[in-house]
Every structure is written in structure tokens, then in C-alpha cells.
Amino acid sequence: MAEGTRLENANPLIYQRSGERQLTAEDEDEDFVDPIDDREIFDLIRSINDPEHPLSLEELNVVEQMRVHVNDNESTVSVEFTPTIPHCSMATLIGLSIKVKLLRSLPDRFKIDVHISPGTHASEQAVNKQLADKERVAAALENTHLLEVVNQCLSARV
């Protein structure tokens, strides 16, 4: 994002990407009622671009399938993400990108909670509060510049 300036985390650990979802006979069956599961949610967010590195959130271990919880019956989704460093100034932007991706992809009935993995960021509470405030999220998404940055994180890499 900020070319020419120093990177906050110059040498992040890079993790391996998971394989594609294994399709089962039930997945192919159109009549089978198939609730949304953790893996589906994870597949929606794992390829989101990091704002700083040409890497995905999965490759930086910012998101993991085991920290995604969906309850289709109750229409709730909870995603915990782990900033690569405890003082990462991009934490709110990363959380916002995850939230926007899920808001755009899931049916309106879902309540989407995105928060920082406990104990992994210096401003954890402040970032969580901001991400949970739908009025501020709505206002942020009316800001053309910010929306552009979010869309960049969400766009498929070439």
C-alpha cells in the first residue's frame, strides 16, 4: 500500500496455504440441505490480501479455519484474526476487510462478529469496539478512499 516507506513487519513468517475443499457426494446433490460451515466462511476470507505484503491473510496466518465459527441455525458468524505483530497499525483495516467480505457474501440474516484473537494486539479492545460499531463501519464504507483500500484487499490477485 505505502510504496517506498518502511514496512512495519519487514519479514513476516509465511505459512502454507490449505488445499481446496474436498467435494463430497452431498455437495453435488442439489436437494441436500447444506448449512454454511466453518470451511465455507474460511474459504471466503483466506485469500483476502494483506494491506502491506503481496500475501494472503492465510499465508500470514492472520486467519485460520479453527478460529472461524459459524452457526447457520442461529445465523451467527464469528471470526478471530491475529495481526502479525502486536502493534500492527493495519489491524482495523484488516478486520474491516474481513467484515466487508462477509457482509457482501453472506445472506443478510447473518450477524457477523470480527475480532482480534485475545492477547495478540496492543489495542485489541479499541479495535474490537470499532469493528463492532455498525454505525462507524457504515460511515467508513461511505468514505471513497477507505472503500478503495478495502476493495484492493478484497480484489483477486493477478
Binding site: D108, K129, A132, A138, A139, E142
Partner: protein, 337 residues
């Protein structure tokens, strides 16, 4: 239990968008709504149905967060994320934008008219509360900028019969203001909520205030004057406010709005769990430690978050609600006793 709050009608008010807020005019005959589509709509009853009487769409560049009617019912104010507040003058069924109030640094979150109609308050993401004076020529002048909150100010409301103002904020507090030497000052800070306070409402007397929060609780506060019999300590000659009741365990997500009916004394809440709830005070309980009972709970009142509830000022028990699903719901509350 849910049978005592009955749905009368539901209609799409801001299609493909959020409906953020609804407000009744003082006669209770018109309902104004606003939303993410940048429009304000005014609804009126025709027979058994509610129809859109006017659309006010030219005033704002961004989301209209809240609307408020003047006490005379001839003006409507709209607060917008575009950092302005528009004043609309009613002429028959049409509305004309007569003034745009500018000054806030960013999103205006709420606007409220004082009971006299001579004062208007606005609050903003920029942490300030502004008090405006209105003269006979419809000129608005900012008389005070109060920077008492440390965060985003979510809501402002005037006392029903005194020139006292209340606001609540992302900084978890409620504040009460009064005029002092041509300026407005904070006379009390109400601390107790553990997260954002989204809304506050006075009861009919103005001696009590209800607040609702992201901490999933409702608190009832009571005004105590200096020298009160209960021994509540006040600073100087100003009244102070004390929490006398907390309603916890009833709401499962953020409570976005609360409305205290001035005709029936019942409380309604709008919650992020899609439900509307109604509470009644136990008339036999101690007024300094009141007990409120849950009388109605409509779990799927809307298909998404409920953003606002508003009791009709003239028809007891008529409640309007609106939601992220873009709909307005109208409900009738029938006490069971």
C-alpha cells in the same frame, strides 16, 4: 407474552438500504423515516394503510442518520453523515430545505429540538455537542460548542419541560448540560455503562432517564436535587443523577434505541438481536429502587437489527420501529392486566 405487542402493519420504507430512525410529529399523525439511501420519507395514514406523503431526497450527500420534528410540527431537521443538518419547512404535503447547518468536522449523529422550539442540539463523531438558537426569521446561530465527551457522540435529547440537554457517547457515558452565562456546560456525567451508550430517553416528568448500551443493559437514572432526603451527594447547587435500576440479561446483542412512552410510562427497546421488548414498571416498587418487568418480547420483530423504536405521542401503545432490513413496523401494545 408476545401477544400483548401485536403487529399492525409492516412496509418497506427504504428499499435496498437501512432504515436508521423514525420520528413521530407532535400530533402523532405523521412519521418521518431516514436511511442509508440518503433520503427522508414522511408517512401518513390513509384508511388502514400507511402511505408515503413526501420524499426529501435533495438535502444530503450521504446517509441520513436521524430526524427530529420541531415542537410546532412545522419543521423537520435531518442529521447526516455528510457533516450537515438540514432544516425542512412543511408546506401542505411538501417540504422545502430552508437552511443547512454546517460546522461539525464529520458525521452528524443526532439532532433534537428543545420543547420551546427556540433551541436545537446536534452531536457528531467529532466528539462535540452544538447548541443552536433559532430566531423568528428562521436564522440559526450556534451559541455553544461543548467538548465534554472524549469520543463519538451518538445521541442528544432535550428534557421534556426544562432547558436541560442529555447526550450519550461511544465513551460509555451520558452527560447532562445546562445553560450557564450564555454558554452551555456539562453539569453531570453519568458513569456505569461498560460500552457505547447508543440512546437515552426521558420519562414524562423528566426526573428519570433511561439509557441503552452495547453492554446489553438498560439503566434507569434518577435526578436528585441538593439536600435530597435520600442523602445522594450533589456538587454545589446542581442536581445530580444516580443509577437506580439496571435491566440486564434480557438482551442478547447491542441495544440501539430506547423509547419511554409519556402516555403509558412503558419502555420499549430496539436490539441487534432483531427483537423488540417492552418493559413496565412495577407500581408497588420503591421509586428509588424500581423494578421493571419484561411484558413483551417479539423475537423476530424484523429480519435484521432493529435500529429504532418510537412511541406515538398521542395514541397510547402505538409503537413504530425500523430496521436494517429497510422496513418500518407499526405495533399496538395492550397491557395484560
Amino acid at each position: 407474552m408476545k401477544d400483548c405487542l401485536k403487529l399492525l402493519t409492516r412496509f418497506s420504507a427504504h428499499p435496498d438500504s437501512r432504515c436508521w430512525f423514525v420520528a413521530w410529529n407532535p400530533k402523532g399523525t405523521l412519521l418521518a423515516s431516514c436511511g442509508g439511501d440518503r433520503a427522508v420519507r414522511v408517512w401518513g395514514r390513509e384508511g388502514d394503510s400507511w402511505v408515503c406523503k413526501s420524499v426529501l431526497s435533495e438535502g444530503h450527500q450521504r446517509t441520513v442518520r436521524k430526524v427530529a420534528w420541531s415542537p410546532c410540527g412545522n419543521y423537520l431537521a435531518s442529521a447526516s453523515f455528510d457533516a450537515t443538518t438540514c432544516i425542512w419547512k412543511k408546506q401542505q404535503d411538501t417540504f422545502e430545505c430552508v437552511t443547512t447547518l454546517e460546522g461539525h468536522e464529520n458525521e452528524v449523529k443526532c439532532v433534537a429540538w428543545a420543547p420551546s422550539g427556540n433551541l436545537l442540539a446536534t452531536c457528531s463523531r467529532d466528539k462535540s455537542v452544538w447548541v443552536w438558537e433559532v430566531d423568528e426569521e428562521d436564522e440559526y446561530e450556534c451559541v455553544s460548542v461543548v467538548n465534554s465527551h472524549t469520543q463519538d457522540v451518538k445521541h442528544v435529547i432535550w428534557h421534556p419541560n426544562q432547558e436541560l440537554l442529555a447526550s450519550c457517547s461511544y465513551d460509555n457515558t451520558v452527560k447532562i448540560y445546562k445553560e450557564d452565562d450564555d454558554d452551555w456546560i456539562c453539569l453531570d456525567t453519568l458513569e456505569g455503562h461498560e460500552s457505547t451508550v447508543w440512546s437515552v430517553d426521558f420519562d414524562k416528568t423528566g426526573q428519570r432517564l433511561a439509557s441503552c448500551s452495547d453492554d446489553k443493559t438498560v439503566k434507569i437514572w434518577r435526578e436528585y436535587l441538593p439536600g435530597n432526603e435520600q442523602g445522594v451527594v450533589c456538587k454545589g447547587s446542581d442536581p445530580c443523577w444516580k443509577s437506580i435500576c439496571t435491566l440486564s440479561g434480557f438482551h442478547t446483542r447491542t441495544i440501539y434505541d430506547i423509547s419511554w412512552c409519556h402516555l403509558t410510562n412503558v419502555l420499549a427497546t430496539a436490539c441487534g438481536d432483531d427483537a423488540i421488548r417492552v418493559f413496565e414498571e412495577d407500581a408497588t416498587s420503591d421509586p428509588h429502587q424500581p423494578i421493571f418487568r419484561l411484558m413483551a418480547h417479539v423475537p423476530k420483530a424484523h429480519s435484521q437489527d432493529v435500529n429504532c423504536v418510537a412511541w406515538n405521542p398521542k395514541e397510547g401503545g402505538l409503537l413504530a420501529s425500523c430496521s436494517d432490513d429497510g422496513d418500518i413496523g407499526l405495533w399496538q401494545y395492550e397491557p395484560q392486566n
